[in-house]
């Protein structure tokens, strides 16, 4: 079954987690689908790296958080918040590549 993340998740957001990392939160609508997404390890460092055009090593953590039916992904900021070249001090608009994501689930 092909899933569009934007339909499966009720929240897709990004924010700083401290000045050196960005954290991406995906909160799923439905517990059953969330469980399957976790079981089938849909979200991997390689997937996130390909969405953002970064090296998989820049993906620090991918954590499944069952109480909120959520997956949390932490990536290294290209530069620390507010350094020269900053584009998004709060990191609040870095989620967009996830909105177009589609994946297959059994």
């Amino acid at each position: 079954m092909k899933i569009r993340l934007i339909e499966a998740a009720e929240v897709i957001r990004s924010k700083n987690s401290g000045p050196y990392e960005l954290t991406l939160d995906l909160i799923f609508r439905e517990g059953d689908l969330f469980q399957r997404v976790c079981q089938q390890k849909v979200f991997t460092p390689d997937l996130i790296a390909s969405l953002y055009g970064i090296n998989p090593q820049e993906v620090v953590d991918i954590i499944e958080f069952f109480p909120a039916k959520a997956i949390k992904i932490n990536i290294r900021r290209p530069i620390p918040s507010g350094n020269f070249g900053e584009t998004d001090v709060y990191g609040a608009q870095q989620h967009a590549p996830l909105l177009g994501l589609e994946f297959w689930i059994e």
Binding site: P19, I63, P67, R76
Partner: protein
């Protein structure tokens, strides 16, 4: 020991405001304390470096003008954490001045405690030499040069300095940089409640009604702490707490929602249970605190990077839009060539909205496809004058730059403003975001007491009428 301790969180950040009706509903539940967090590193390094708040004086005065008189009348303490947003010395002073002004205007009489959160650079340098500073994930190793270059360093205090201030009988406690949940957890931990539950409750209350649905950073939330659980309750009938809204909030701005490190230990939420109660309340249990063998606190420091001038413009010409990358490369080269005899250094950046200005290197589709672009030309240099020179020169060069296929020869940029260029002033960058081992949790955070009386009119900073020795 009390069976229940009630904590009122009026707003997510002091100065973000709250409906008075929600606050009154909260006071009607007879809370034991009002606590509010004023801080964040989210707005970036500028505010810590410049010593200014990211919230406005009048907005903070409005909030405190409601909170403090209500707390004094109810004879309960108020704790304000991370005063002035960044919690450095000038931020603390700024908040104390607001409180003094309110006290004069409302003729209030109370005992005020101020706790410094700014730390001495020499102390930090010594600690670094002694190997007492460690790294956080994704943060480069600290060098002596980073410490030396820092213009201001704060440390996030835990609950202990706040408890010390509470023990003096202070009515209002204003603290410099704090671990956000500490202002909520200090009193309950002192009263014997479980540390894990108190800190987890603090984690939720620190953002007030953001943990409710619909969420809001400018509305109140009440916490009821018991021996084996806690309950959170919104104070506006338009909002509800749901197990999902409360659990989801645990994710917010955190790296790992199960393990949340803080001063002296780690909050472990692996066994936490969220249970829906009637009337939009949520019950939480199972959260526990694991004490570290070594007490560590987080340091935040910033360095001065330079001074910034920006110019804002738009582009509507499709030929220019198609050539934008070549134009920018050409302008950068022209600026470099023009000033190559000068000894100054500068950094020049172009943000192209409509292409990749929002995501920069993370943008998967860095192509200008729209019918117009926004451009910000930014120069940062050691002085404002050099930044002005570089920005102005880049702007005029871009305005008249001849690119291949150019058909509009009068000017390449649409400026919405005259003047076209703006000083944004000093630019800071994070220099320290590391952990410091401390032997005693209170050592870096002296508590100072002062009696506020209606006749108090001394506007001078930090000069209490009746100073009491630091406790």
């Amino acid at each position: 020991m009390k069976e229940e301790l009630r904590i009122l969180s009026p707003t997510a950040i002091l100065g973000y405001g709250f409906p008075v009706e929600s606050f009154r509903r909260g006071m009607a539940k007879t809370p034991h304390i009002i606590a509010v967090d004023a801080g964040s590193t989210d707005p970036g390094p500028y505010y810590l470096g410049a010593g200014v708040s990211f919230t406005e004086y009048r907005a903070v005065k409005r909030d405190l003008g409601i909170i403090i008189p209500a707390a004094l009348e109810a004879r309960i303490p108020v704790i304000i954490g991370s005063a002035g947003g960044s919690g450095g010395h000038p931020h603390l002073e700024w908040t104390l001045e607001i409180i003094r002004e309110i006290s004069r205007e409302k003729k209030l009489c109370f005992k005020l405690a101020a706790i410094e959160g700014e730390v001495d650079k020499n102390d930090i340098y010594q600690a670094w030499r002694d190997g007492k500073i460690s790294n956080l994930s994704s943060v480069p190793e600290l060098s002596g040069g980073d410490i030396g270059a820092s213009v201001r360093i704060v440390a996030q205090m835990g609950v202990e300095p706040l408890q010390k201030a509470l023990q003096t009988g202070a009515d209002v406690i204003v603290a410099g940089r704090c671990y956000d949940p500490a202002v909520f957890a200090a009193l309950p931990i002192q009263a014997g409640f479980q540390r894990g539950l108190a800190i987890h409750l603090g984690k939720i209350l620190e953002c007030a009604a953001i943990a409710a649905t619909p969420g809001s950073g400018s509305d109140c939330l009440l916490g009821y702490l018991h021996r084996d659980d806690f309950v959170v309750e919104p104070l506006n009938p338009a909002r509800k707490c749901t197990t999902l809204s409360v659990a989801a909030h645990t994710l917010y701005e955190k790296s790992n929602p199960y393990l949340l490190p803080g001063p002296g230990g780690i909050l472990d939420l692996k066994d936490t249970k969220f249970e829906q109660l009637a009337e939009g309340r949520v019950r939480v249990c199972g959260s526990c605190f694991r004490e570290d063998e070594i007490y560590r606190i987080k340091l935040e420091g910033v360095r001065l990077v330079g001074y910034r001038t920006v110019s804002i413009a738009g582009v509507r010409d499709p030929v220019m839009i198609g050539a934008i990358d070549e134009v920018i490369a050409g302008v950068k080269e022209r600026v470099r060539d023009n000033f190559k005899q000068e000894t100054f250094t500068y950094r020049l950046d172009f943000k192209v909205y409509g292409k990749n200005a929002v995501m920069g290197p993370l943008e998967p589709n860095p192509i200008a496809e729209g019918h117009e672009l926004g451009v910000i030309i930014e120069a940062v240099a050691d002085t404002q004058e050099i930044a002005d020179t570089v920005c102005s020169f880049a702007r005029s060069t871009m305005l008249h730059f001849g690119y291949p296929g150019r058909i509009a020869t009068a000017g390449n940029l649409a400026f919405p403003y005259s003047p076209s260029d703006f000083h944004t002033g000093a630019v800071y960058g994070f220099s320290i975001y590391h952990l410091l081992e401390v032997g005693a949790p209170c050592r870096l955070f002296p508590v100072q007491l002062m009696d506020i009386t209606p006749g108090y009119s001394n506007r001078k900073a930090f000069n209490p009428i009746n100073p009491v020795n630091p406790v």
